[in-house]
């Protein structure tokens, strides 16, 4: 049974959307034998860029400011610290991949850049998948205990509205 909390459901939904995009990018990269982004990969790149630009940072910032401190207070500080370290690593890879993905989406990436995009995207995808696996099993089930009904509703509203 999935957690009934609104925050948990929002995060899980974003995880699933991210995984959907990343999975399709992974498959498109694997199928792309060429040296440029064309066909399916070209169609996916705008969503990939948007995911890196907006979703990853916003999602991570929310967890770090609102959830990890509560995890630490309730005795799961080690897990929160591990998640934070993984966020830093993913941010670093994402920062390297983003300009390449933007140029590929604009059709201005050369062969070396495309190879670098392929490597970087593969690393980003593996890190994100492993991170989401951990959060799904370790973080989301905790939220029912960490957040009471009012706090859960307030945080979910704040996250949805970006306030």
């Amino acid at each position: 049974m999935q957690s009934s909390g609104q925050v948990s459901q929002a995060l899980d939904s974003e995880h699933r959307n991210n995984l959907d995009v990343l999975g399709r990018v992974e498959q498109a990269l694997a199928r792309s034998a060429g040296t440029t982004a064309d066909g399916e990969l070209a169609r996916l790149l705008p969503a990939f860029v948007r995911l890196i630009e907006q979703d990853i940072g916003r999602h991570f910032d929310f967890e770090e400011s609102e959830l990890f401190p509560r995890m630490a207070e309730s005795g799961d500080g080690d897990m929160a610290e591990l998640m934070r370290e993984e966020h830093d690593a993913i941010r670093e890879v994402a920062a390297e991949v983003l300009p390449l993905a933007r140029r590929a989406a604009a059709g201005s990436l050369d062969r070396a850049g495309f190879d670098a995009l392929r490597r970087g995207a593969s690393e980003l995808i593996e890190r994100q998948v492993a991170h989401i696996q951990k959060e799904t099993m370790a973080l989301l089930p905790l939220l029912d205990d960490l957040l009471d009904e009012d706090l859960d509703r307030d945080l979910a509203f704040a996250y949805a509205t970006g306030s």
């Binding site: 959907d20 370290e85 590929a104 690393e123």
Partner: protein, 334 residues
């Protein structure tokens, strides 16, 4: 590890003092393990089905250890529970109880984690646990009571319901998961699930006194080799690189990826050897061929060596000094 070796050697050589010493050391080790498990279960939050399986497994461990000591008592001529009853208790409570319930309980974490599926329905998971516990209670009554066949059949019936509920949950996790290309490890997991169900069928045939040669040994092969061992090796080859990556993460700016700790070739060799060994042993039992059994055992040993190679590579990579930063992901210029 030395205790397991001593126990196995004591059994093989029919040398009771060595057997007893090994068994006592294993009991001590498992008691320490039980203390750790209690501490973890007391601190557990959420996932009531997993926690229930853990507590039930802990109770089964107590029965498994008591029955193991009774079996040792029989070997060294100390007064204890009769060997048939102790053996029946030990097989049920160690195989299906302690190890089996841990496997079924932790599956509710591991399978959704690797398939990226929603968590299993907690009520169904709890119901599966409850039927398993009822089945084990019936197995205890069969071992200790006056109507063993009726209790055995009741135990198998309850166990079958528990397994059916569990497999329904696992099927849903595979169906609804976002990762469908799960590799060889999940082929092994699926084979292990089939073996779990087949072990109950073999148990029923045994309870009904079906005159099949080698049936009791086949039951043991299905329960221990094909279900528990296959499942454990399958999950370990997925979880070890994952844990190694987490362990290596501390203090690194960009920790190594789980995939950097895995090696495909040893696992491919293990996969082929393990399945060939199981099939060979089953065929050896059906034909009564000791030569085939020896060949199957040698094949299984080859698989074990390959698995060891996978683990050694993982440990070597884990022990390697951290490079500055980590692997550079992207360096190209466009």
């Amino acid at each position: 590890m030395p205790a397991v070796a001593a126990l196995t050697l004591g059994m093989g050589l029919a040398f009771a003092p060595l057997l007893a010493a090994g068994a006592l050391a294993i009991v001590c080790a498992l008691l320490l393990y039980a203390l750790l498990l209690v501490a973890n279960l007391r601190g557990a939050r959420g996932m009531p089905g997993v926690v229930a399986h853990g507590w039930a497994a802990l109770g089964c461990l107590a029965v498994a250890l008591a029955s193991a000591l009774a079996l040792v008592g029989n070997y060294v001529d100390l007064p204890s529970l009769g060997r048939p009853a102790a053996l029946a208790l030990h097989v049920a409570f160690a195989g299906y109880g302690f190890m089996g319930l841990l496997a079924l309980g932790l599956s509710a974490i591991l399978v959704p984690m690797f398939t990226l599926s929603p968590l299993p329905d907690a009520r169904r998971h709890l119901a599966s646990c409850a039927f398993a516990v009822v089945g084990l209670g019936c197995a205890a009554a069969a071992a200790l009571g006056n109507e063993p066949r009726a209790w055995q059949i009741a135990a198998i019936g309850a166990g079958t319901i528990a397994v059916a509920l569990h497999l329904t949950l696992m099927h849903a996790a595979l169906r609804d998961g976002m990762r469908h290309d799960l590799g060889r490890s999940f082929v092994l997991v699926k084979i292990a699930w089939v073996a779990l169900a087949a072990s109950l069928l073999a148990a029923l045939a045994l309870a009904l006194g079906t005159p099949l040669p080698g049936l009791a040994t086949l039951f043991g092969l299905l329960l221990v080799g094909a279900w528990l061992l296959t499942f454990t090796l399958a999950m370990l080859q997925r979880i070890l690189p994952f844990l190694a990556s987490m362990h290596a993460a501390r203090g690194r700016r960009r920790p190594p990826l789980p995939s950097t700790f895995s090696t495909a070739r040893p696992l491919a060799i293990h996969f082929a050897c393990h399945l060939a060994a199981l099939a060979g042993l089953a065929l050896a039992l059906a034909t009564g061929s000791s030569a085939l059994a020896a060949l199957a055992a040698a094949t299984g040993a080859g698989g074990a060596i390959a698995y060891l190679a996978f683990y050694m590579v993982l440990l070597r990579r884990l022990a390697a000094p951290a490079p500055a930063g980590s692997r550079p992901a992207v360096a190209g210029e466009g």
